[in-house]
């Protein structure tokens, strides 16, 4: 299981196969397409088709029941003057800018500790990963309960003489509350970093030790560069994930579903949902408007990812020299 071949694929599979009679190559090509057909169909029906359709919809006014009415750039013009759009965008960026660095540093720190092969390592790994199997409404309720103004978390802070804030009540503290809550789910990041650390050849450390390098120098010059592809991958996927925060914000927003106190948890996808399906706040079933929001989101994510790929050349270290 662990000995996976993850290197770039050889151009044509090194299939040393016995030639069978009756044009086996053609038969295999046909089978190949046939087997891949489910994905191809799904790609066309549930990805490309919808993308193109939503591009069209974004230029219309459309509430599903009537036919779409062409509106040109009107949706986009309205979006750029829409206060909730900017609120949701800045809330989302807040999470990206604050949460991802914290998660990255803490995850690498814990992964480094786990990589020491201390007694009970398996147990620690399991426990730290455990919350990651929970993702739904129940987990949000649990943290809503723990982070109540007089809840368990603030009681614990009080033991250290700290007066805990009104986490999901005070608009200033809702997003920090989500960061605190989010720390419970860093287990999968930690496991991925741990796998990355395990992949670093021991000889490099031995060589460095002989050269006189010590603790921090080894971390700085061996561990971090060799871990950088993993860090890069994690940051890219975390940003995409952060842009999609929904369930947590939806539940914590309460019955209005408009981002809770001071719209401080109005995240991009929550706002998009409200425009498309919402029953409160700005009227729902504005499919044209929502489709335009979705396309803007797509472009933002694409731009950030491309920017990161460009940035990666400066800091991501690829051992074999092949970049992906």
């Amino acid at each position: 299981m662990t000995h996976l071949q993850l290197e770039a694929a050889p151009r044509i599979n090194s299939n040393r196969r016995v030639r069978l009679p009756a044009t086996p190559a053609r038969k295999e090509a046909f089978t190949g397409w046939l087997f891949a057909l489910p994905w191809i169909l799904g790609f066309l029906l549930f990805t490309v088709g919808p993308m193109l359709f939503s591009l069209y919809t974004s230029f219309t006014r459309y509430n599903i029941t009537t036919t779409p009415v062409w509106a040109g750039l009107q949706n986009f013009q309205e979006i750029f003057q829409d206060e909730r759009f900017y609120t949701s965008l800045s809330n989302t960026f807040w999470m990206v800018v604050v949460k991802i660095p914290i998660v990255t540093v803490v995850s690498i720190g814990i992964a480094l500790m786990l990589s020491l092969d201390l007694p009970g390592g398996r147990f620690f790994r399991t426990v730290i990963y455990l919350p990651n199997v929970l993702s739904g409404v129940a987990a949000v309720f649990l943290w809503q309960w723990i982070l109540r103004p007089n809840g368990l978390f603030n009681q614990a802070l009080a033991l250290f003489g700290i007066k805990g804030p009104g986490w999901f009540v005070d608009p200033l503290w809702t997003k920090p509350g989500m960061v605190v809550m989010g720390m419970w789910w860093i287990g999968s990041n930690i496991l991925i970093y741990l796998a990355g650390l395990k992949g670093i050849p021991k000889e490099l450390y031995e060589a460095a030790t002989i050269d006189g390098a010590r603790g921090w120098a080894k971390t700085r010059h061996i561990t971090l560069p060799l871990l950088s592809p993993t860090i890069f991958f994690q940051v890219v996927t975390s940003i995409i994930g952060t842009f999609q925060i929904f369930t947590t914000a939806y539940i914590l927003s309460g019955t209005t579903v408009d981002g809770g106190p001071g719209q401080s948890m109005l995240f991009y996808v929550l706002y998009l949902y409200n425009r498309a399906f919402g029953k409160s706040g700005p009227a729902g079933f504005q499919m044209g408007y929502a489709a335009a929001l979705a396309w803007i989101l797509f472009i933002i994510i694409l731009a950030i990812t491309l920017f990161q790929l460009w940035l990666a050349k400066r800091w991501v270290y690829y051992e074999s020299g092949d970049r992906q």
């Binding site: 191809i40 549930f46 919808p50 939503s54 199997v133 890069f232 998009l272 949902y273």
Partner: protein
């Protein structure tokens, strides 16, 4: 890692002590983290067994074990129906995802066909595409596809179809994961079967599937976990109460007591909803952990 070339024995002794102290410290930190990580679960269990008068006090052990919280949780709404719905949707999603993803992954890993590498780069590209981007048009499309009265609906909205049928087209991420795994299975095994006249379908089903069991299991349990706890999908597509899943039911339950949520009932209900996921985790934790690590190694 023995410090052979260090100048004096004394220096190496100090270093060894520092390293030992570091290891002890790290171990203590890990113990602390493990406790912190478990506390929410224990608090959930503790709260779920408290009666209302007990709810606001800080004790970990309820003065009286209020088991009736669980009977209350079960008696509210249509829990049996919702559980059935969730089981059906989850089961169909798991079967659909596993069958289609392994089949497609097999085609990408083992068969040679024109356009394969090009299509595979498309698979990788769609992995990065957020679902939300296609959420609106998918809803519109499902609202146009006739369901012929299935689950009492004229179109796919308010049926299980949008939540299950797409699973049969495979998931890009799992296709990638399985392809990597299938490539590591020795070629000789399927070659031998081929010489014996086995069809590709047969090789996929009776050779590749069993040998790829760890990866297939990881895909199955991740799909289970995702489908069981999916909130946004059912929220968008299911409107009738009789079709709700547990996640939507749980959300309804929040305000069942009217006004502020009754936390002891809510924790009892939440616990019931997460227990299947926890059981699966305890039984198959190695598959989870290895699956995550394979998933993370896409760094190229």
């Amino acid at each position: 890692m023995t410090a052979i070339t260090l100048p004096t024995e004394r220096r190496s002794k100090i270093q060894a002590t520092v390293r030992r102290a570091g290891r002890v410290l790290a171990w203590l930190v890990l113990v602390g983290i493990a406790i912190l990580w478990l506390v929410p679960f224990i608090w959930m269990l503790s709260t779920s067994l408290k009666d209302p008068t007990d709810l606001m006090n800080k004790s970990w052990i309820p003065t009286r074990l209020a088991w009736e919280n669980f009977t209350y949780a079960f008696s509210y709404g249509m829990w049996e129906q919702w559980t059935m719905n969730t089981v059906i949707i989850t089961l169909v999603s798991v079967i659909g995802t596993v069958l289609s993803s392994t089949l497609v992954a097999y085609a990408f890993a083992r068969l040679r066909w024109r356009g394969r590498d090009w299509l595979f780069s498309l698979v990788l590209a769609t992995m990065m595409l957020p679902d939300v981007v296609t959420m609106i048009p998918r809803f519109i499309i499902f609202a146009k596809i006739p369901a012929f009265g299935f689950q009492g609906s004229r179109n796919w909205i308010n049926t299980f179809l949008p939540l299950t049928i797409p699973a049969f087209t495979g998931s890009s991420f799992y296709i990638f994961l399985l392809r990597q795994f299938i490539r590591s299975i020795p070629m000789e095994l399927s070659e031998a079967a081929k010489i014996d006249g086995a069809s590709e379908l047969r090789i996929w089903w009776s050779i590749i599937m069993p040998l790829a069991k760890p990866a297939v299991a990881a895909v199955a349990i991740f799909t289970f976990q995702g489908a069981w706890q999916d909130f946004m999908g059912p929220l968008i597509y299911l409107q009738s109460e009789r079709l709700y899943t547990l996640q939507i039911g749980l959300r309804q339950f929040e305000h069942a007591a009217g006004g502020a949520p009754a936390w002891n009932w809510l924790m009892a209900a939440s616990l019931v909803v997460i227990i299947p996921v926890l059981i699966i985790f305890v039984l198959f934790q190695n598959y989870f952990i290895e699956g995550v690590q394979i998933g993370g190694s896409i760094k190229g």
